[in-house]
């Protein structure tokens, strides 16, 4: 009898599992295509950029809330966390470093890149303690350097070490930016590659060895970019265009009056306006027209240089064993999508 019982229980279990997995997938395809979503979830970074200006100035209300869409903001320390949220479908838009955006494509998260918030310059840098006696990158051999792994900083640092041939002699420690500040103040680490506003903290007792600006001049360009889930952008292309309009309007404030923009983000990020202005000057912001130039997105059907940068970054990540397969140049050309910037400028017939 009990043998029969075992069989029955197993059967019920198996059926249960199958039903659950099928209802789970039919839920996904069962969404009705209404004109507007009830809410949009934005993954954001705490950095002085156009998105932060837009938040403080209430642009999200103007562009989204007034249409009856609820906006939720989820703050991430780095794009690695944002990718996890994208993978589970918890967020629609996400700001992240382009290194994480490469991961999004390589892991097939079904997203596309639609905007470059800023091209990173002095805002990210390799800092060493004043009294450490480290004056050039070669001196780092045998030292420990802290850096948030899988970030733009990590990518640039690895290349900086590789260029002088000491990548095997430096121990890298994976830490969040706030943890780096703590370890720095304790004296556990003498060198760290990180971004503002925490970079400013460590530079109080440190100096810059090399910045992402200098590395960008050597061809290792990094940027903070915006990605959107394709499922969202295909259903609500107009909302994605609105989002670009909004960011562009916010960035105009900075272009017209940097002091005013600095005062706006300073409040949100809890830093002084002077500090905010310095940090914002550490990266370059580009207008929609500039983003459509061959240097960045290019135009639909005529991909710009940024897709090549992404492919180079991707190949490097594959070499590092961080991703299994590097997507092809064609996939990157499609991934770096200028369509919504074109629509925002009224250039696209679509």
């Amino acid at each position: 009898m009990s043998y029969k019982l075992t069989k029955i229980i197993l059967l019920i279990f198996l059926i249960g599992v199958i039903i659950v997995s099928f209802t789970a997938c039919s839920n996904n395809s069962n969404q009705t295509s209404d004109s507007l979503p009830e809410e949009i979830n934005f993954g954001i970074l705490r950095v002085p950029n156009d998105e932060t200006i837009a938040m403080v100035e209430g642009f999200f209300d103007k562009y989204f809330t007034e249409k009856g869409i609820k906006c939720n903001y989820i703050v991430f320390d780095s794009g690695a966390e944002a990718n996890q949220a994208l993978a589970s479908g918890s967020i629609d838009f996400a700001t992240m470093g382009n290194v994480n955006a490469v991961t999004s494509l390589a892991r097939d998260l079904g997203v596309e890149m639609i905007w470059i918030h800023e091209v990173l310059g002095d805002i990210e840098a390799l800092a060493v303690k004043e009294d450490s006696g480290i004056n050039k990158i070669e001196d780092l051999a045998g030292e420990r350097v802290a850096v948030p792994f899988a970030s733009t900083c990590h990518y640039v640092l690895l290349n900086a070490l590789k260029n002088v041939g000491i990548e095997d002699q430096v121990q890298l420690l994976d830490m969040k930016t706030t943890e780096i500040v703590a370890a720095w103040q304790r004296g556990d680490i003498k060198a760290a590659y990180l971004w503002q506003p925490t970079l400013g903290e460590v530079l109080k007792t440190g100096k810059v060895l090399i910045s992402s600006k200098e590395m960008a001049e050597k061809g290792y360009i990094t940027a903070n970019v915006e990605v959107v889930r394709k499922e969202f952008s295909n259903r609500y292309p107009d909302l994605v265009t609105s989002f670009i309009n909004m960011l562009s309007e916010a960035a105009d404030i900075y272009r017209e009056d940097p002091e005013k923009a600095a005062a706006i983000v300073a409040k949100k990020l809890e830093i002084t306006p002077e500090e905010a202005l310095k940090q914002m000057r550490g990266s370059s912001w580009h207008t929609r027209e500039e983003q459509l130039s061959p240097d960045f997105f290019g135009e639909t059907g005529n991909p710009g240089h940024f897709a090549t940068i992404m492919k180079e970054t991707s190949d490097f990540l594959q070499e590092q064993d961080s991703i299994d397969d590097s997507p092809s140049q064609e996939e990157f050309n499609e991934y770096v999508n200028p369509l919504y910037i074109e629509k925002s400028l009224g250039k696209s017939e679509g």
């Binding site: 075992t6 198996l14 997938c25 690695a80 097939d108 899988a150 994976d174 703590a182 370890a183 304790r186």
Partner: protein, 273 residues
């Protein structure tokens, strides 16, 4: 333990044996169902491989990790780094929590001093105070071992206090009336009587500190099985995460089995009194 209890109860041993056999079948069956469901879900690609990698992919990754290691460090070295932290912390916890726990159970004044502190920090999530430990003890192994130690301390301490309070007063009184001094009472009566519960405390402590391992290795580590899982999550390497979790699960079960084996050898009288 359970099986011991069952064989001790005076039922028909043949019937008991059959019942055990059926239960084993159910356990094995559960795992077979889980594996089949896993296989089918990935076979029909209901979820993307990033969300749920297939069993064969996880297996391939496992062999690749065995061969090449992760981040240039072999899997065994990662395990060794983790277990060094874990066992140092457990040893430290045993060395302090057992005497303090027994003393607390013995002398209510000592309990009054220690107990409230333990009760206060015990429910705190480790990540809440880990940053403080890093500030105080640095980013090296010291802060990690202390975090694991704190996780392991409370269960052992509490088990000891409760064990002492459960001792039958008559044992102590009769020993004393037969002329045993304080030292004899402690080593001949109290300690042996407490051992079974101390062991349970140690096993719980192992479980708690093992669950804290990933948190401990999240910050500034470059080795350890917990770190491997954490680092893999940066690039959404879910196959590596699966391998890490399966390794942790299996080693966890093995170590617990080892502790149970020790318990049976040392506290062989358990269940017989």
């Amino acid at each position: 333990m359970d099986s011991e209890k069952q064989t001790l109860s005076k039922k028909d041993p043949e019937k008991e044996k059959r019942k055990n056999k059926n239960e084993k079948k159910l356990t094995v069956g559960t795992w077979v169902v889980i594996l089949i469901a896993w296989y089918l879900i990935t076979k029909f690609e209901i979820f993307s491989p990033t969300l749920l990698p297939s069993p064969s992919r996880v297996l391939t990754t496992f062999f690749r990790l065995l061969e090449d290691g992760y981040n240039g460090v072999s899997i065994l070295s990662h395990l060794r780094a983790s277990f060094r932290r874990l066992f140092l912390a457990l040893a430290l916890a045993n060395a302090t929590a057992v005497p303090l726990g027994l003393l607390s159970g013995y002398f209510s004044k000592i309990e009054a001093i220690i107990d409230s502190v333990v009760e206060f920090y015990r429910p705190l999530p480790p990540l809440a105070y880990y940053t403080l430990l890093i500030l105080w003890f640095g980013i090296d192994d010291k802060s990690k071992i202390i975090l694991l130690f704190l996780a392991a301390f409370a269960p052992i301490y509490l088990a000891c206090v409760s064990a002492v309070s459960k001792i039958n007063e008559n044992y102590i009184l009769s020993a004393k009336s037969l002329g045993a001094n304080q030292k004899n009472v402690f080593f001949k009566i109290v300690l042996p009587a407490c051992l079974p519960e101390i062991f349970t405390g140690i096993r719980t402590a192992f479980g708690v500190s093992y669950t804290t391992l990933v948190s401990a290795e999240m910050i500034a580590a470059t080795s350890g099985i917990g770190w491997m899982v954490f680092d893999a999550s940066n690039f959404l390497k879910s196959d590596v995460i699966f391998v890490g979790i399966i390794i942790m699960g299996i080693t966890g079960v093995l170590i617990d089995a080892g502790l149970r084996f020790l318990e049976r050898k040392i506290v062989y009288w358990k269940g017989h009194v």
